[in-house]
């Protein structure tokens, strides 16, 4: 009865200089990776306005896709899924928007019911998300909305057969199911020297390994969703991407470079062992337009209606007292804290993100142009 998915473990070997012991460390993504829970200062809930801004930019695309589906299918029981729902306010406001899109459209009496499927990894802080539900139900109490949470990895099946009409996933699909196996040599050491992601210093072997992992993951994602969507169902995917074929361009890779430099600084300061840094790799991939199109075409269950890419402008209106670097550092921390703490321990986090903020501000000043991440939005129709 379990989902057919691959176990996401990978081994990290660390050779201690003093004892020459090989210490085996496993990071099982599904047991470790999570956005920072709760509603505190460093939580994802309180630091996800950049993600909201990106989603707001594509609101018209999401609304149009939902409307098109409704006009074509006219279901009286509508299944909507949010994959990677996380903890915060973005999730429920998205659902409201989708429900209103349908209800504002001429519809029969009685009005359709909405079956809402929220998904994230089992480690997600669902309790915090659910705290907002009583108010949400009160606001929407005239409508028939049934909310369910399905914890698990979206690299594999999550939902019953053909129960969905609309799938939405925002800012998740750039996270791979695991760090690519291909970047470890036979002894288990990373071949991606002096980097934590694909950088200028990375070999082609490294970028190919990452691409292969992305291809495997994304096609499994598409295949799984194709069995859960009805024909004519729509899927809107928002994820980080890259515009050129080259990885180490401006855009997303800069942020990984800054993280690497921040960690390096901690090594220089004696706070982190160099071996620890060398063994840290991220389970991330920012695909290009061509790479996305290729997988959609190969998998064959979907028609690609829309593929747009845009820069996330660094308008710092989050907090006037805060530098851009500090604001981004807070956002990044709420996302990456779990994976960093799992590898390096909690105690380095405060200092690490201080370095991150400083280095990012310096980079921005030196670059004299914007450092903007790239977001891709896709709209697909199930054939």
């Amino acid at each position: 009865m379990s989902l057919k998915r691959e176990k996401q473990t990978y081994m990290l070997f660390m050779l201690s200089q003093k004892t020459h012991d090989i210490i085996l460390m496993k990071m099982d993504i599904e047991k470790v990776f999570q956005m920072k829970g709760g509603i505190g200062e460093n939580s994802y809930s309180k630091n996800s306005s950049l993600q909201k801004r990106a989603a707001d930019k594509v609101k018209h695309i999401i609304t149009a896709a939902m409307e098109q589906m409704y006009v074509e299918k006219r279901p009286n029981s509508i299944g909507i899924a949010d994959l990677g729902c996380s903890t915060g306010p973005n999730t429920l406001s998205n659902i409201k928007q989708l429900v209103h899109t349908v209800l504002l459209h001429p519809h029969p009496d009685p009005e359709p019911e909405f079956r809402v499927f929220l998904n994230d990894l089992p480690t997600n802080d669902f309790n915090t998300l659910f705290q907002s539900l009583p108010d949400f139900y009160t606001q929407l109490n005239k409508h028939r909305i049934y909310i369910s949470a399905y914890p698990g990895s979206f690299y594999g099946r999550l939902f019953p057969d053909h129960c969905l009409h609309f799938i939405y996933s925002s800012n998740c699909l750039h996270w791979l199911s695991k760090v690519p196996a291909g970047i470890y040599d036979e002894q288990g050491f990373s071949i991606n020297k002096k980097s934590i992601y694909i950088s200028e210093r990375s070999t082609q072997e490294v970028s190919l390994a990452y691409l292969k992992q992305f291809q495997h993951d994304f096609s499994l994602f598409l295949k799984s969703r194709s069995q859960e969507l009805v024909c004519g169902g729509r899927m809107v995917l928002i994820l980080l991407g890259r515009t050129g074929s080259h990885h180490a361009d401006r855009g997303n890779s800069v942020f990984w470079e800054i993280m690497y430099r921040s960690l390096s600084t901690m090594v220089d300061e004696g706070e982190i062992d160099e071996e620890k840094l060398e063994s840290y790799e991220v389970h991330f991939y920012a695909p290009s337009k061509e790479e996305l199109e290729d997988e959609v075409r190969k998998e064959g269950s979907f028609k690609l209606d829309v593929l747009e890419m845009f820069e996330n402008e660094n308008e710092n209106d989050i907090d006037a007292d805060m530098s851009y670097g500090t604001a981004v550092a807070k956002t990044v921390r709420s996302i990456q804290e779990s994976m960093l703490a799992n590898h390096f321990g909690d105690s380095i986090l405060d200092k690490l993100f201080q370095h991150y903020a400083t280095l990012l501000d310096q980079e921005l000043a030196a670059a004299n142009d914007h450092i903007n991440s790239i977001t891709t939005v896709l709209v697909l129709t199930k054939l």
Partner: protein, 369 residues
């Protein structure tokens, strides 16, 4: 008291958590096993679903949460394999509780649950999907005609709210021998309203021929104020009087009612969507399941429990359930002292009586429209 916002079992796995103190509730699930098996088998035979909706309402968190649904899935598999020409249906399992429930804890156990089921049942990889449903079951939770078997244990004695107009219930927190008739009436009325809404909601959600098995506290003697069914509240009220000003106690009443079998039957008949298969009453010891244990190697008992008296163990069990409400009304400071004294009172009660609850097991079938 906003019940849906406040009521939840104690979270986590600490000494006073529900997870470590739910033996009685586990025994209650077990005592209904044979009735449940029969009901599940019939729901499969009646409806022959391709995709079967199974719900557990009031799932809480901790070791009991997946117990009932495991048993249900077991029975579905057995029944299915016994029907000629039938394949195992796709299983949609929904675990419901109020939004304040510790769903994080529940969800962390899903991967292990899927793994166990895959090994034991050899189901196809896409054979089953488990979800959490946060919300009150006094109202709709699921889409129309989506459920084939609904289970609920140790939950339906919790009302949607404290019955209104209970000012006359002086110095008491539930129905007691000194409560005026209007108090009893208020509780019965709230129960009738809530249970009717519960049944009406499930009626929309269940297919014809689907079965429902409900297990909750009740009373069998003619009086609702009978000791068996209310004494645990009586003791709590007594202790609160010793710790808190009386007028603060007057403003606190339990959102709870343990009905009689006849009261249950009346509402089922009135609502009209279900036929009654069974309404049975079982006696359950206050410390069912834990009193007999003296085996130091037993892995069911938390080691700490062995050092506690029977009364103290019962006190922690009650604390795990009512703490959220008591704390919200009276504050945190009194909790330790309150339940320490509660343990003493229960030990004293045990020395005079064999203390029992009455647990009702209700089995119904959804009628055709």
């Amino acid at each position: 008291m906003e019940v849906t916002q406040i009521l939840h079992m104690n979270k986590g796995e600490g000494e006073t958590s529900y997870a470590k103190n739910c033996t009685v509730q586990r025994e209650i699930i077990t005592l209904a096993n044979s009735i449940m098996e029969e009901a599940v088998a019939e729901s499969v035979q009646n409806t022959l679903p391709q995709s079967m909706g199974i719900a557990d309402l009031g799932c809480s968190s901790g070791p009991n949460t997946l117990m009932a649904v495991s048993k249900i899935i077991d029975t579905v598999c057995k029944t299915s394999s016994g029907i000629v020409g039938s394949t195992l249906p796709e299983l949609r399992v929904s675990l419901n509780d109020l939004p304040g429930n510790d769903f994080n804890e529940v969800f962390m156990s899903f991967p292990g649950f899927y793994e166990t089921l895959r090994k034991e049942k050899g189901n196809g990889p896409e054979g089953g999907f488990v979800s959490g449903i946060p919300g009150s079951f006094y109202g709709r939770l699921f889409a129309r005609n989506s459920m084939h078997f609904v289970h609920s244990s140790s939950t339906l004695h919790w009302l949607s709210q404290v019955p209104p107009s209970l000012d006359m219930n002086k110095g008491k927190i539930y129905i007691s021998k000194t409560s005026p008739p209007c108090v009893v009436k208020a509780y019965v009325s709230q129960f009738e309203k809530d249970f009717f809404l519960f049944l009406r909601s499930r009626a929309h959600e269940m297919v014809a021929g689907g079965r429902m098995l409900l297990s909750f506290m009740g009373h069998i003697s003619p009086e609702a104020s009978t000791e068996v069914g209310s004494h645990q509240w009586e003791l709590l009220a007594q202790l609160l009087l010793g710790l808190i000003e009386e007028d603060r106690i007057d403003s606190f009443n339990a959102p709870y009612y343990a009905p009689s079998p006849q009261e249950v039957r009346n509402v089922i008949v009135e609502e009209g969507s279900f036929s009654i298969n069974h309404v049975e009453a079982f006696e359950v010891n206050w410390d069912e399941g834990s009193s007999a244990c003296s085996d130091s190697a037993c892995d069911k008992c938390d080691f700490e429990h062995e050092k506690l008296s029977r009364g103290q163990r019962v006190a922690i069990t009650i604390r795990a359930v009512v703490e959220s409400m008591v704390e919200s009304h009276f504050g945190r400071e009194i909790l330790d002292e309150l339940f320490r004294r509660y343990g003493e009172l229960v030990d004293d009660y045990f020395s005079k009586t064999v203390a029992k609850h009455i647990n009702l097991v209700v089995s119904v079938t959804r009628n055709s429209e």
